[in-house]
């Protein structure tokens, strides 16, 4: 399996277009960092206007590498699924389009093995994208803006996390984002089995994610307790929960605490269930598929 995975990764990283998402992420992050470096206070005043009357906000201290990373994650983790779909949607359909799928299937490798390896390669690519994003969004921001306590506005509440209590939360958030993006990769991968070129599954994945995200964000009582809890898009942003902590009687944040860990774990298990379902369906469909390309 490892040998086959190496081969898949070799193929992925030999294609120039593989590097486009890395370039896109770097460009967006640098643009955000540049904007915040020179006009960060205006951004903070606008973002914290709901709590500005209640709290005296020390803007220069608030604007630090941890906050910039949080801002970037908020922006990018909604867009990155589209980049992940570019690679995962191409995994099977791209091979069918090139005509290489029939060569692969006539080799002494089981179709299940082939699919697991291809999905594994998609996940590996997703992880690399996230590591790249972490390097730029977190570590580069820490270097440019320095570090301090993380203060974020949440509705009418301020979350104040000590700087010694921040890093593990980012590690957990990136770990969660990895699962969330792997869910999108699994969806694109499943759709890829049914297509003969990669445009279809990529566009279909993006469309599904957009439609379900809109549905997840809408406030319609009928859907709130029936449909929304089961949509994977409703759980993709649960990484934010790692930055919501418990507080003691005096209103101080309890270090190392998470406000609602069971909710995060529930979201995580729903995403994992989706991954299992999508990948199983993809393997099943591929087993039955007549390779006519």
């Amino acid at each position: 399996m490892w040998k086959l995975l190496q081969i898949e990764l070799f193929k992925i990283f030999k294609r120039p277009r593989t590097y486009i998402p890395f370039g896109a992420i770097a460009a967006i992050i640098l643009i955000i960092q540049l904007g915040l470096k020179f006009d960060g206070q205006s951004y903070l005043e606008m973002g914290m206007s709901s709590v500005a009357d209640t709290f005296n906000i020390p803007y220069p201290l608030v604007m630090n590498g941890y906050l910039v990373a949080f801002v970037i994650l908020n922006t990018l983790l909604i867009q990155i699924p589209l980049l992940v779909a570019l690679v995962a949607g191409d995994m099977v359909a791209g091979e069918a389009n090139m005509g290489t799928l029939r060569l692969l299937v006539t080799r002494p490798v089981s179709r299940t093995q082939l699919m697991l390896v291809k999905y594994g390669a998609s996940v590996f690519y997703t992880i690399l994208l996230l590591i790249w994003m972490a390097l730029l969004a977190l570590f580069l921001s820490m270097w440019i803006f320095g570090t301090n306590d993380l203060i974020i506005a949440r509705d009418t509440v301020i979350e104040h996390i000590r700087k010694t209590d921040v890093m593990w939360r980012y590690i957990a958030a990136f770990g969660y984002a990895m699962v969330a993006l792997s869910t999108v990769a699994a969806l694109a991968f499943l759709l890829s089995v049914f297509a003969e070129n990669s445009i279809g599954p990529i566009v279909a994945t993006i469309s599904i994610v957009v439609v379900l995200t809109i549905l997840s964000e809408m406030r319609i009582p009928l859907y709130d307790n029936t449909v929304k809890p089961w949509l994977f898009t409703s759980h993709m942003l649960a990484w934010k929960g790692f930055f919501y902590s418990q507080s003691n009687g005096q209103g101080d944040t309890i270090a190392g605490s998470i406000e609602n860990l069971p909710s995060i774990l529930r979201s995580l298990s729903i995403l994992l269930a989706y991954i299992a379902a999508f990948v199983t369906a993809a393997i099943w469909a591929f087993q039955k598929k007549d390779i006519l390309s």
Partner: protein, 314 residues
């Protein structure tokens, strides 16, 4: 002699279409087995079933004495194939493609062996060029190198000369003969070119509409003394009437586009032309026909056309 491939009652349906219909045949060890049929006859569908790309609707496939359904991986370890177009990873070099498919097949040949294999198909000098820069012929040769990279006992080549120039066709033909004669490989080669198969195959199967038309040794299928000839005359109707009244009627096969097709001994062509001319039929040309289509006609529709001639005469 043991069968390398034994196919029994193989059938494939695509909705209402029966692409392959109860096909049975066997390929023996060291055969160059010509698998012939016109475009759409079911050759590629059959080959895809042999290579597990398509699930048969019915029938059984045994390769190396093992059931393909239950011993798929074991069988595919000993099979190499080029299926229709030789599509490879265009963004990789010839060497990288070869190395990659060797590893997927479970082997890791040395750089020297890979270069030798590229040398065998005449691509050593372009080993490190990307496949997207290759001509159709070079891709075809690389496809064959990929099919052979794991040293398979059975090689399946689906239309290997498609899109090649005459020199490319000759190269592929020589390679096939070399693989059979010197490396003792069994080859199943599909084509719609009868003349090409005649030059290389020792046994042949001809199919049409997914069904077997004829199978056997090439030497038995074709009587070298008999040939199909096409009579080109500006007086087609007159020629038909003359022939109808003459002993040549039994040689008539069909009439297409004003041209008459006859099957006869080569030695009798001269007297045939003389008879026609003596009876006032101008002969513009007479030429041998040797296409698969003509062979089909001689096998399957000869009687039907002769009856049609007779009916029209009556």
């Amino acid at each position: 002699m043991s069968s390398v491939i034994r196919v029994t009652g193989l059938t494939k349906r695509f909705s209402a279409l029966k692409a392959v219909d109860g096909l049975s045949f066997s390929v023996e060890q060291a055969d160059i087995y010509g698998f012939l049929g016109q475009n759409g006859a079911g050759k590629s569908t059959t080959i895809r079933m042999l290579l597990t790309l398509i699930e048969p609707t019915d029938g059984q496939i045994e390769i190396f004495g093992m059931d393909l359904r239950t011993h798929r991986r074991e069988i595919l370890r000993k099979v190499g194939a080029v299926i229709e177009r030789p599509d490879l990873y265009k963004y990789l070099t010839a060497y990288e493609n070869l190395s990659l498919f060797a590893r997927i097949s479970g082997i890791r040949p040395s750089s020297r062996i890979l270069m030798q294999q590229l040398e065998q198909v005449g691509l050593a000098e372009r080993a490190h060029s990307k496949v997207k820069t290759f001509s159709q012929g070079m891709k075809q040769r690389l496809g064959i190198a990929v099919a052979l990279v794991h040293n398979p006992d059975l090689v399946v080549l689906d239309e290997p000369t498609n899109g090649l120039d005459p020199q490319g066709i000759a190269d592929i033909r020589n390679l096939i003969l070399h693989l059979s004669a010197h490396e003792k490989k069994t080859l199943l080669v599909s084509s719609h070119l009868l003349s090409e198969m005649e030059l290389i195959a020792n046994r042949m199967l001809i199919i049409d509409k997914g069904r077997k038309i004829v199978e056997g040794k090439a030497s038995e299928l074709f009587d070298p003394a008999q040939t199909l000839v096409e009579l080109d005359t500006p007086e087609g109707t007159l020629a038909e009437e003359v022939l109808r009244r003459s002993p040549w009627q039994e040689h008539l096969q069909s009439r297409r586009d004003g041209k008459l097709l006859l099957k006869m001994d080569k030695t009798r062509i001269a007297s045939f032309v003389r008879d026609l001319v003596q009876q006032g039929v101008p002969v513009a040309a007479i030429q041998p026909r040797h296409s698969l289509e003509d062979y089909f006609l001689s096998l399957t529709t000869a009687n039907q056309h002769v009856e049609a001639f007779t009916d029209r005469a009556v």
